[in-house]
Amino acid sequence: MSTGALTPTTYINHHLSFFAKPLGEGTFWTLHVDSLLTAVLLGVVGFGFLWWVVRGATSGVPSKLQAFVELSVEFVDDQAKGIFHGDRHKFVAPLALTVFVWVLLMNAMDFLPVDIMAWVYEHVLGLSNWHSVPTADINTTFALSISVWLLMIFFSIKVKGLGGWIHELFCTPFGSNPLLWIFNLMFNLVEYVSKPLSHSLRLYGNMYAGEIIFLLLGMWAATGLVGTIFGALLGAGWAIFHILIVVLQAFIFMMLTIVYISMAHESH
């Protein structure tokens, strides 16, 4: 970290760059090992925990741990029940649970103090430029939103048939008059493009901005004692507010996932 002068630019760049491993020619063939490894670790821990609790689940009096898991799962299930009309237990509700738990855990990595974690990564684990928050990586959020988008198209075609889906592309929302086909198609294309974009960029933007604000408050500490005190106070305030954002963004991401998938199931 500390090679060269520590300027605001190098500080922020340092915290926002990824532990990238090139795997081939061109910029596409690189892997953000930090995002992937953190995400997979969190997933394994989170879903492993759920699995561990569920494996010992009883239909009698539940343990406190099981009650907690049931509460969370029923919360997700209630949301799915409200939006999705059909057999949600087969796919939609588990999908929503996966999204919620995973995104929540990845967002929650934002609570770890950036500079202390950077020091730990670099001096304890020997990893420079290790980035804690997978959802502040646009690749992660797009991976989620594009997966959901593909599922949406898959369910559209599965439910309505290929012909039905194409019919809907051309004949909704304005009507089936041939003069309107081109407008319908353009409208639908805009919708199909905007859905994954807004879905992923909302989460990414919130997490990325949250990190930037932590970094800016951290930079304030470099200006002296007063800056340090104010930076710490505001940093604490922002962290508290961030609890809301972390949960809220996970919730919104889950809700949009359910909404998109259920829209795919319904004909206009």
Binding site: A20, L23, T27, F28, W29, T30, L31, H32, S35, L36, A39, V40, G43, F47, L50, W51, V54, R55, A57, T58, S59, G60, P62, Q66, V69, E70, V73, E74, D77, H89, K90, F91, A93, P94, L95, L97, T98, V101, W102, P134, D137, I138, N139, T140, F142, A143, L144, I146, S147
Partner: protein, 156 residues
């Protein structure tokens, strides 16, 4: 902020986690929850049923009690009536026996009086005949005057 291979790898991780949740986390937990719901439902239904049963039993016991009370009142009434009847009968029987005895006694007395009267009459007649015999020893033939004497006796 480059789109790169991370996207695909994360998508694969996502797919694996979805599969894992949908096959190993969601179904068993939902089974446990719905089973518990069923148990609670059954328990509530059983409680409701037993409450109804209890109400029914209470109603039945009240009915039985009331019936028993009515029957016992009826029985007491019947017994009292019967007792009164018996007393009445006994009283009537006693009266009948008394009157019968009185009649018998009266009849006997009448017969005795009659007999005494006849005796007396006989004796008076024989006395009269004896007197008359003494007076009329000579003139009166007992055989000749027997008819006369008999008519005299009946007239007494």
């Amino acid at each position: 902020m480059n789109i790169n291979l991370t996207l695909i790898s994360q998508a694969i991780a996502f797919a694996i986690f979805i599969w894992f949740t949908a096959s190993f986390v969601w179904p068993p937990l939902m089974n446990a929850i719905s089973e518990r719901q069923k148990k609670i439902e059954e328990g509530l239904a059983a409680a409701e049923r037993s409450k109804k049963d209890l109400e029914l039993a209470q109603a039945r016991s009240t009915d039985t009690l009331r019936e028993a009370r009515e029957k016992s009142t009826e029985m007491i009434g019947g017994a009292e009536r019967q007792a009164a009847h018996l007393v009445e009968e006994a009283r009537a029987e006693a009266a009948r026996i008394i009157s019968q005895a009185r009649e018998a006694a009266e009849g006997e007395a009448a017969v005795a009086a009659q007999r005494a009267k006849e005796n007396l009459r006989d004796q008076v007649a024989s006395l009269a005949v004896a007197g008359a015999e003494k007076i009329l020893r000579r003139e009166v033939n007992a055989q000749v005057h027997a008819e006369l004497l008999a008519s005299l006796k009946s007239e007494l």
